[in-house]
Symmetry: D2
Subunit: 379 residues, 4 copies
């Protein structure tokens, strides 16, 4: 794999590298780690890359890698830059036949996302958008159980993602993460809703298997001086008639990354939260609730495929992230070998999730500004 | 005390009696337990009341008790009938100088509530509306901490009350509780929002000390054939600029009475839920979260006044309910003795909470039916 | 009921009165609340007792009550004095035909306990020892599930009761509770082991249905200057071959009343703790663990008989305590009416539990002082 | 690094490789993965090793690696074989100047452990014993807080490790893990006590900073036909006068890997359990308990050094394991560079932990068989 972005100070780049490393199956072979060639070089050296494959720009990287032999060149590229530098490198990579792993949200705006979708589709290329939470074994288990129909028709979804880290005007200092995430020229039209609202939105659709049809949003800028939303709540209507509530906040002081999803059907439902990542609570109308656990013998193949240790040895965020990489890489490998990937491997967030996420951003911001109650979810 | 309603099959009547009994300070001396005199008589006998003080109707009861001497007659009346039989007996009691404990929601509609408010005010009578959750020691502690200003300005409130018991068409059978609660002629214009939405609404205003200014509601009838809402979610704007999310459901299959409130300020916030009723989670932007506990030496006087056992011996719903009765009775007793009640005693839900709760019902149903996004919260 | 002890400053007397009050079925009619007649009088007046039935001593009370007519006199007596004042009043009450509720541990020493046992047996009198924790609905459910055999043969028991309140030399000040509990002339030969070790011991035998055969104890006085043990741990062997671990401490600084029991059989087991009193965790070798809850429709008759509110409205320590009183009173009432009490009513801790608890104290202290590993559990 | 053991079917070998991979700083360069050269070859190929560095035996590997140049040869060896194949390869590696990572328990018996200790000491070599639980950030935080003295003198330790996986006679089938762990010729004299009792023992000493002086053990073989203990409980006396309770079981049906440690001092204490691995509960005698969390800004340098993601993104077992490798590797690297390792790097379980663990096994089995109450902890 090659990496674009992820130089010094970039939190998520390091996370991507760990996730790719864990199973010892993916090797970082090249990178363009910064728009500053000198910084890129330093980063590459620290990562023990061959000097010839540390590039000064993503354009150089894709051009040069394209010229290498099939066995030599990177199999896919991982793009971990801020939102406004997603589209160009992804487009170039896809056009040159490279599979792509891309950090969420997919692009700067919905139009870009649709363009990428078209290109990827044409090239029959794999595309992974890192909605990490769907990589947890118990989130996969949740989806399998909901889709199995055991709870009857789904009626209600609650999904929430409270954080507290932007409770103060952090972007006024030199916190790089805060700076670009609150800057409309880098993040796009949404702050909180783009950064974590999209995660919540994706998690709800992933676990329930439903599609959003209408929404009604209250979008707020709470911290004085901030340019993008740092808080919001959304009422949702799904395609089967179910309704939902989504809320995300970056000013819930004292919260860490407390993402949680609840789905209720006619007979029962599920609850999962990152703070107890290896448990899936299954509730029933008329019998005791159950706690399903990662790594046990009784979970579905989708859960056990995404687990690395025996039950009770907690598997965390990095393993969830690694599951995205592993499944993506298994698919790429299968394609290279002319084989059909298994259903379990194909179960990673892809380009349609990305496009829907961008549509969420546009619709939610539109609703937040409007006076009409319900906005149609248009893609 | 005298009781109106609470005959055979009436769940909440028994709860009121336990709550009044706990401290051995309140004696049930008379009652009109049913609109059927025979049933009233049976109920009174089972409760070991003197036959002369078991009445055939609330009118008879109030008339006859009024005629008794000051030392003999009941000091206050507790009304535990369905919503549509709140106003008349409460009005009559107040007009005859009896203090009143009334089950929530206050009345059939807002107009009735305002009339009661006027009468009670004129008579300088105590009025307690049983928003039980505000009787928990840790809910009182939460309010004290929030009001103290230690978290800075309040920015965000989440309050939720998911239940699952009405997931099926229970009113189709002979479940008395389900029957009247889903019947518009007995419950009024709201089902879920009146029954538990008002609890959530009250809890949020009580803990935060804020007043709702605007709301936007999604109100649903989920179970086929049902006549009143069994699910809803509301976006809220408060008088200090804070925003909120409230949701309540009776079709969250597998949930019991999972009421929970979170309030966030600039520096931290609180979280309380009935499932861990004796813990108050206090969160901070930059230090470990704390768990404050009922019955400890370090809590406020408002919390310790409402606690009966040493820390670690859980105090539950009945004790919270009993706290309402105890504080109300302490105030009545103080008034009788010509004394000024303490602030801790006066801290029970009263007539203004009741009026605001009825206004919540009317506004939330109006919003649920409307197409405009925000509805002003009018009282 | 009549009460012996429980005057001013006596924590547990107030708890007993609340427990007896809750259901409105038991009336406090007389009392000898203190060995000081004046204090007894004051206490009785505060409790609104008729002056003629406030007695100056327990001897006077039992003599005078005995002389009253069957309909007038108290049906039973509740004794809530410190340990060294258990035997004499209990003996006198039993000898005069009064049923007895007695605070644990049963007596000052094992010999006294056996004498009471003989007297009670002869008189066919009901005797309730307030091992409160066995009054929780989910503890009753635990016992029913274990006895049902669903977990196979029981193999292992863990029971623990850490407290922190005696972490300092509290008896050096004027804390009345600490003073008598650490005084060998009032508590007997054990401190922690008598006060809370007996609870843990009883809870383990109650839930498992097993009897202790051997034990090996480490008994400690941790706080300097203290005269009785404030900490201990015990290895146990049960009559079916199972083994166990019991520990109790009053110097586990920061713990409240964190009693917890776990029982494991061949196929699974149960876990219950007071900090989550309304949940019973049921674990299985090869399927998800379950959370059984108070007040639900799926629990056993033993659990539902001991529950007062719908699921999700927590029932706490006082309700557990009230269950002891209610079941005891139901049995007394049945006997008075010449009826056979139901199995659910008879399920309260009785005189055999009391005798075994006293035997536990003697054996555990003997083991703590000895050098041999295993001490036979002799009664 | 080179690996000895960890071929097909060996659970822990894969875990070691993941742990070493995570940070991308340690490269697997050679291995002798099985005593069967053919299987070793297959394993090495699957791991993409150069064929010249896949060895048929550990002896060959150490001999050949020793002959390579300093820059070429492996820096250290990781030994992940069953207990009876720990000593010989570790000895050979140390004697040839290779640093060693060794799976616990250290050796087959205490005598072997002491020999290794002598050799390692002489060679000034780093030695890491994989007591994984001490790699969790919050376990490190616990130790730092306890050692800081903030809780006063430590008085009581509870440590427990219940598992349920050996509840049936699993070794009767073809479960490889169960087979060697219950076989005295491979595991040594202890089963449960060696496999997980040593973890609990080490965790207690690590967090408390205390040394065990005496112990009293109840050691059981519960499952019929089993040859080694599958359950046990131990009373402990520490060098500062504190006492403790340790229990470990493999027949606690329904438990996963539920290791938990509690340490109490005069003023408060800590609690940590693997099921909530990123929280450290800090308890106080007279103020609210606190929850300290991985990845926050307020934890000690020892905790933050061992954390990879922002707070709220759970870090699990593999990261804890990786912390051992990372710290060990940082020390090795520092030594190679002639630098002094930081205190945070040196904080991994070493050869003294290993020797004490073997002494624990011998003493605990001796006590389990004896009739005397207390056995001196001899090393």
């Amino acid at each position: 794999m090659g990496m674009i972005g992820g130089g010094p100070g970039a939190f998520i780049g390091a996370v991507h590298r760990i996730a790719a490393n864990i199973d010892g199956e993916i090797e970082l072979v090249c990178g363009a780690f910064s728009s500053d060639p000198e910084k890129s070089k330093q980063a590459g050296e620290m990562l023990n890359l061959s000097p010839t494959r540390i590039y000064g720009s993503y354009k150089e990287m894709i051009r040069r890698e394209t010229e290498l032999s099939a066995t030599e060149k990177m199999d896919f590229v991982s793009i971990v830059t801020p939102n406004h530098v997603h589209f160009d490198p992804a487009k170039l990579a896809l056009e040159n036949g490279f599979h792509v792993v891309l950090d969420k949200p997919m692009t700067f705006d919905l139009a870009e996302a649709k363009k990428l979708q078209a290109i990827a589709k044409k090239g029959q290329l794999f595309f992974c958008l890192t909605h990490t939470y769907t990589g947890y074994p118990m989130v996969k288990e949740a989806r399998q159980q909901v889709l199995s129909g055991k709870f009857g028709k789904i009626r209600k979804i609650y999904v929430e993602y409270p954080q507290g880290w932007l409770s103060t005007f952090l972007e006024g200092g030199d916190q790089k993460q805060a700076a670009w995430r609150t800057d409309p020229s880098k993040s796009g039209i949404a702050g909180c809703m783009g950064d974590i609202g999209t995660h919540a939105f994706n998690l709800a659709e992933y676990v329930s298997g439903l599609k959003t049809m209408k929404l009604c949003a209250d979008i707020n800028i709470v911290v004085e001086g901030r340019k993008l939303d740092d808080d919001g709540a959304v009422l949702l209507k799904y395609d089967n008639g179910a309704t939902g509530v989504l809320f995300a906040s970056q000013i819930a002081a004292g919260e860490e990354n407390n993402v949680k999803v609840r789905v209720f059907g006619e007979k029962g439902g599920i609850e999962w939260k990152q703070e107890d990542e290896n448990s899936l609570i299954v509730k029933w109308l008329d019998k005791p609730k159950e706690t399903w656990r990662t790594g046990t013998g009784y979970v579905s193949s989708f859960a056990s495929h995404n687990s690395r240790t025996p039950a009770g040895h907690p598997e965390g965020y990095l393993e969830a992230f690694a599951n995205l990489y592993r499944n993506f890489a298994l698919c790429v490998k299968a394609q290279l070998a002319g084989q059909t990937p298994k259903a379990e491997w194909l179960d990673f967030p892809g380009i349609e999730d990305g496009v829907r996420g961008m549509a969420f951003i546009e619709n939610v911001i539109k609703s937040g500004k409007g006076t009409e109650k319900w906005v149609d979810f248009t893609v």
